[in-house]
Structure formats: structure tokens, C-alpha cells
Symmetry: C3
Subunit: 316 residues, 3 copies
């Protein structure tokens, strides 16, 4: 068991966290895992606390997952959706922050199209900030739930070969996972056509390849990134069909994979493009476990940053 | 008192229910009727349960009615509104279902523009599904609240003459009511211009007429269907004025009706079109009672499908 | 301590309230002030009560403030947003009212673009109605929170000089404040270019001036009204720059002000237009206190109109 205490006000990204901090979140997630399986799916951990969900980018999945995690911890929740460009500007974000503070909100969950927006908010705020995805920078709770899923299914992370396939260039999910997994001792490979690889991705301590066969061969985990169809006209790849021909995860490509490889995907899945329906439905797929474990991971983060953990220890 | 136990996971339509099952819902609704009249309008029946409201068609009234019913039963509620056409497709609906399941939701309330969508969802889901209106197929909780209103006001349903006037062709409210009322022994008449009558509506065991006088004369209950003004350009009827001339419920047409006839309408009312303001305001109108009893009917359905009933009995 | 009891079903405006009633709200706000500062920000005062928030005009700030006030009082809340023009019409508003009543809602919080809409709703409703802003008429909870802020910071209202600067013509905030402050014995000054002053504003018992220096000189409180940039094309003032030159609150203009003058603003602030950033950040500014005290003022109003106060006294 990790012996450290959580001292951070915010969860902004896995880049900043130490190995011990990440392990503490994963252990805490384990303790929340079974709450959503009980007949009464509710604990009074955050009773009387207020969580504001600020979504400047639309997101049904992440929004619902956070909202359920908050309600199952008995928090009062507020939802603010906005695409107003005025709020994107720095100065206005600061005013937004102060207003939230003045409403005596305890935790702000923020998704924003600009990389770094939650960091700026956190800087101005005494309340905790949880990054629910910022631009192409990080999506730390997604990476934490991915790591928690691996841990539950494989029993460890250290030494595993984890391969990411897809749009690495634009993926905050990949970035957060790379920071987290490398800290925990996994060997990370990223695989994509050259146009979807960041310029100096190798410097992040990962193996880089454009060859799917090679990326899949010795993988313990394959984590697929969603191909965003709306990006096709920007011509990062010639056509969906060509992408699928070279980078789709299907029965053939998995023939040479390890028999116990895990298939992961943050959803929503484009069946028939980055993965076939057959593989989505196969026993190797843990895509729905990721959704379930996402609740536990988010409950853990809400619990830790809200300081409930600290207070509990003080009470003993 | 009905002696049967509720065994269904879902409430998809009244077509599938037995007479005894419908009676059980109505009896359960009676036991929930007075909760909304108390100073503290809340019972802990669904505490720690999660209800997801998926509205793929916009609806303020039905949404608010369900949401209040859920909150007064102490459930945690989630609202997802969507008009995304991608979700209409079968495969994606299945993925939606599985994601909901993975979030450990107990009950899904679903409104959808496609007939049969909640049935497909229910097929893929261990969680309960309540149909809140699917295409032109069924709207079972509306029919149950209509029947509960009749029962409260008339003391019985068997043997009553119940007349539906309006757009029978497109009305899921009429369809659900016809299934339910005929099972409970009411004599149902449907009345509309020929263009607004389904081809083989007589096979449902109802009397069919295009003559409003005849339809009204011996009715114990007249249940009006909303004329959807946006359908006029499809020319199902020549003009609103002509429709109103032949099919409006007003003082004149009610001169030959029974003195204790009940006037019902699922709302929102087009005053001056399918019914005059005078009749909406008259003592015969139970339109607002329908809104109030809708809470009781929906609380009953939520209670029964969520298995709370079963568990309560086991505990004794 | 005020000895009167609250007997009003609704809070529609400060024009109707007596001095004693306003003082009762302010005293009640004081008793709710510290709830939002506690670790567990929740009291069971409105448990089992339903509050419906009907926002026919969009508003994030006022909506969130009311929603938090309601949740911290443990009420069940419903949110209905609408810009449907059909609901603006009188007859439909009456139907809306009756439907809300039939759902056994206890309190309706309503924002509406038409002056008088909440009054019409209240007339048709047994449930309480709280005006959250109606057209250019009143915004009583904003004025109450402004007065509560003055009281907390200055210890009194009677005899203080309170100056409003900005778009007096279109400001429901100014109108509510003028009704309230003059009843409590403050000396109110309004200052704006002639085009932004109502025709007979002097009849409200306030001093009127177009000269900012004069308006600021002896003020104990300066309450700024937001300049609505979208109104510029209606040419109420020549240009934003010209407005700012003559009416901006900045360091220079405050050189002749009292050293302990309070700077207030209902938000959101247009920094650099009606006020400089420097003054927003200065110790004189209580703009964020207004946000915090808004929770207390709204909790007080919700508590009083919902009759909880009356019932509590009966129980003793």
C-alpha cells in the first residue's frame, strides 16, 4: 500500500504526478469500485459539498460519468455548458473562476477546447479543479481509468507492453496515458500513419512505429484512439478506407498478437473503421469495463482533491 | 386487490400487458397518489438507484413529470437529450445501451422518434426500460395515467364508453389507450376524418366513426388528441378551420352528451382548435388531474420495474 | 429585530414590499449567510419541497445562484429553459401555470423577457412565484443581495448615499434597488447620459444627474450597471469609447470620492468599459461579495415564500 498522502488541490494532468500519487489514485479507485455494484449505490462522502461541471466542449459520456460519480458520492452538482467564445479568453476565464469561488463551490470539473485552460482556472481558484479534457493536452481521468482497467485485468502495470493505435497527434487521451504508463514502468508503443504522429513523440520515452503488425505483436494491451471522421477533410490521412486497411484492429491483425491481449477504446467506437465489430464483441475487449471503472476512477479523484481523505485521517 | 406479482423488467407498451398487470399498476399508482400532496413530497423508495432519462425527441412535459416522479422517489437522475441521427441507427443504439449498462444505471426512461427503439434498447439491457413514447407506436405511461384518472373519477373502467377524437393515425397515446382500455373491458370508439384513421383500426376491437355527434352521444369519457399543426402541410385535413368545424369539442356538441361526461386531453391543448377554452375550464374537464395523476402513475411504474416491490416482499 | 411575520405567497418586486418586509428578508439572509461557508453546506429546510426554475431568458449566473441556494436548502429542483415565443403569450402562460400547479410544485422561480410575466403567473398559481428578472421591470433578489451586501459592509443602509451609474433606462436591477433603498432611507442618485435615463425617473424619489463627478463625490456606495454592448447599434450612446470617457469608474474619478466608498456591480463586468480592471481588483470592490451574499439572499427568499418560516413558528 502506498504510504503517501494526497496533498494536491487539483488534478490537471498526469505529467505533474509522481508514481506514488498515481498509485494512490488507483488504490483509492479500488476502494470505490464496488459502490456502483450495490443495490444502494450511494455513500455520503461528499454530502454538502458542491461540484460544478463546466463543459465548454460538448461531451455526453464524460459529463454523465462525472455526474454519476458525484451523485453517488452525495455531492450537490451544478452543470454549466457553454460554447461562448467570450469565456475562452483569459481574462474572462479569471472572472469565471472568481465567480465560482464566490459561490463557495468545492470542486470544479472542467472540459475546455484550449490546452491549459483548467490550469489557468486552478491558478485563480481556491476550489479544486479536475481537468476533464483540455484541447490536445491531457485527459487525466481517462488515463487513470485506463490504467485502473489494466490493473484490474492484468494485476500489474509495470513491465507490460501497451500499444496505442490511431490519431496520436490530436489525442489528449494518448498524452495522459503516456505520462502515466511510463511513470508506472510500462513499455509504451505508439502506432499511426506519419501524419498522425506528433513531431517529437519519441522524446516522451515511447517506441514509435507506423507498422501495425510490429506494434501489435508483443502487446499486452492495445488501446485504440478514435479516428475523428470530421478531421478527414484536413487530409491527415487519404481516406477512411485507406486508414482502415492499414490500421484497423481486426481478427487478421490479432492473429499474431498475444492470446491474452486486452483491447481498449475510450469510446465512442467507429465500428468497421478503427476496429471491427467482431473484436469489439470479443472476450479480449474490455471497452465496457473501462466505462464502469471510469466511475470508480472519477470517484477516487473527486474524493482525493476535495480533501475528504485528509479530513478523514485528521478525525482518527 | 390484484394478487399477482410484477415480474417484468421493462414497461414497453400496454399491448404486451395482461389485464391483471395493468390493474396492478393502477393499484400501485393509488398508493403513490398522495405523496405529491404532502408537505414533504419524498419517499426513500429508490434511494441509491440511478434513473437515466434519454430523450431523443424533445419533451418538456413528459420529461418534467418523470423527473419529478424520480426525485420524489429519491432516485439519482441523469438527463441526456439528443437529436443526433447517428444514435437512431440500430447498431449505435446497442452501443448506447451497453454504455448505460456499464454505468450501472437501474432504470432507463426513453423517448424516441422511431417506433420500437425502446424495445431494442430493452433487449440489450439488464437495466429496466420505460417507454416514454416511441414513434407512432405506444406511450404507455400516458395511457396508464389516463386510465388512472378515469378510475379515480368514475370508480371503474369496465363497461364505460370511452371515445377518442383527433389524429388517431399518428397517435401513440391513442394506441396505448386502446390496448389498455379494451383489456379492462371499456368500449372504445375512435372518431376522426378518414385521413386521420389508421387503415385497419377496427381490428383493434374499437368502434370507428367519422361522425362526432355519434361518437360523443353515449360517451362516459371523451379523450381528445392534440392536432399537430405542423402536420397540416402534409394535407391530412384541408385546413385547421375545417377540422375545427367538424371535430371541435365545444358547448354545442356536448349538448347531447351525458351530463357527467369526462373531458380528457394529454396536453398541450390547442384552445379554439380541438377544444374551446370554455370546455377546458368547465367542471367536466379533468385535464389538470391527468397531469397530477401522471406523477402517481409514473412513480408506480418506476417502483414496479425497478424491482423495489419484489425486494420489499422478500424482506417480509 | 423585525417583529412582523412574512405573509406573502410571492416575491415579485420591491415596489410592493414594506420597509419591514424588506428588513425581514435581510435579517433572514443574515441567518443563512454562513451555511455556504461550512464544510457541509446543506440544511434540510426545504427537504421534500419542489422548486421549478423557469428561465425564458438565458442566464447562467442567476440560474446557478438560485439552483445552489435551492440545493443547499435540500429542495428538489427542476429546470425548464425556453425561448419559445408561444409561451410568451398570456393564455399559454396561464396554461403553463396550471400545469406547474398540477405537478404540485411549491415554488416557481421565473425569469422572463416580458415585464409583468411573473405577476401573471403568480395570479394563476397557488404555488409561490419568485421573480428572477422580468423585462425592464424588476429583479428583486438582485436588489436584496445588493442591500444585504451594503448592510454587511456598512452596518446600515439608512442615510447612506447610493449612486447608480450606467444604463438606468433598461435596468431592472436599478429599478428594484431604487424601490428598496428609498424605502430603507438611503439617498439614491442615478447618473447616466440623458439617453439612458427614464423619462420621469425623478418621480421615484432619486437625485438625477448626467455628471459623474457630482454623482461620485459624496457617494458611500457606487453601484455600476452593465453596459449592454448589444444595445450600441440602437444608438443610445455614440460609441463605447465615448461612454467610457464620460462614465467609466476609474482611479481618476474616484480621487474625489469618499475613502471608504464601496464599488458594486451585478456582473458580468465589462472590464475597461464601465469600470477599469484596477478598480475591480481594488479593496473598495465588493463585486464578489455580492455573488456570495446572493446565495444567502436567495435562500432567505425561498425560505420565506415557501412558508417554512410560518410553519416553524406554528410548531413552537
Amino acid at each position: 500500500m502506498t504510504q503517501i498522502q494526497w496533498t494536491r488541490k487539483d488534478l490537471l494532468g498526469l505529467r505533474d504526478l509522481s508514481r506514488e500519487e498515481i498509485e494512490l489514485v488507483l488504490e483509492t479507485a479500488k476502494s470505490f469500485r464496488d459502490i456502483s455494484l450495490r443495490p444502494v449505490k450511494k455513500v455520503p462522502v461528499l454530502r454538502g459539498k458542491t461540484v460544478a461541471n463546466l463543459f465548454f466542449e460538448p461531451s455526453t459520456r464524460t459529463r454523465v460519468s462525472f455526474e454519476l460519480a458525484e451523485k453517488r458520492l452525495s455531492a450537490d452538482t451544478i452543470h454549466v455548458a457553454s460554447s461562448m467564445s467570450s469565456i475562452v479568453k483569459g481574462e474572462t476565464l479569471k472572472d469565471t473562476a472568481r465567480n465560482i469561488e464566490a459561490l463557495k463551490v468545492d470542486v470544479v470539473v472542467m472540459r475546455h477546447g484550449s490546452s491549459g485552460a483548467p490550469h489557468r482556472l486552478a491558478h485563480h481558484l481556491k476550489a479544486s479543479v479536475i481537468n476533464a479534457g483540455d484541447g490536445i493536452n491531457e485527459h487525466p481521468t481517462q488515463a487513470l481509468l485506463d490504467m485502473f482497467t489494466i490493473l484490474e485485468k492484468k494485476g500489474k502495470i509495470e513491465g507490460l507492453n501497451v500499444t496505442f493505435v490511431g490519431d496520436i497527434l490530436h489525442s489528449r487521451v494518448a498524452r495522459s496515458n503516456i505520462w502515466g504508463l511510463t511513470k508506472l514502468g510500462a513499455n509504451v508503443t505508439v502506432c499511426a500513419p506519419k501524419t498522425l504522429l506528433p513531431a517529437r513523440v519519441g522524446e516522451l520515452g515511447v517506441r514509435v512505429t507506423t507498422d501495425l503488425c510490429q506494434a501489435v505483436k508483443d502487446a499486452d494491451v492495445i488501446n485504440l484512439l478514435r479516428i475523428q471522421l470530421e478531421r478527414q477533410q484536413e487530409s491527415f490521412f487519404p481516406s477512411i478506407r485507406e486508414y482502415a486497411t492499414a490500421y484497423q484492429i481486426n481478427r487478421e491483425i490479432l492473429r499474431d498478437a498475444k492470446p491474452d491481449v486486452l483491447i481498449m477504446h475510450p469510446g465512442p467506437v467507429n465500428r468497421g473503421i478503427e476496429i471491427t465489430s467482431e473484436i469489439v464483441e470479443s472476450p479480449a475487449s474490455v471497452i465496457l469495463d473501462q466505462v464502469t471503472y471510469g466511475l470508480a476512477a472519477r470517484m477516487a479523484v473527486l474524493f482525493l482533491v476535495s480533501g475528504a481523505a485528509k479530513k478523514e485521517k485528521e478525525a482518527k
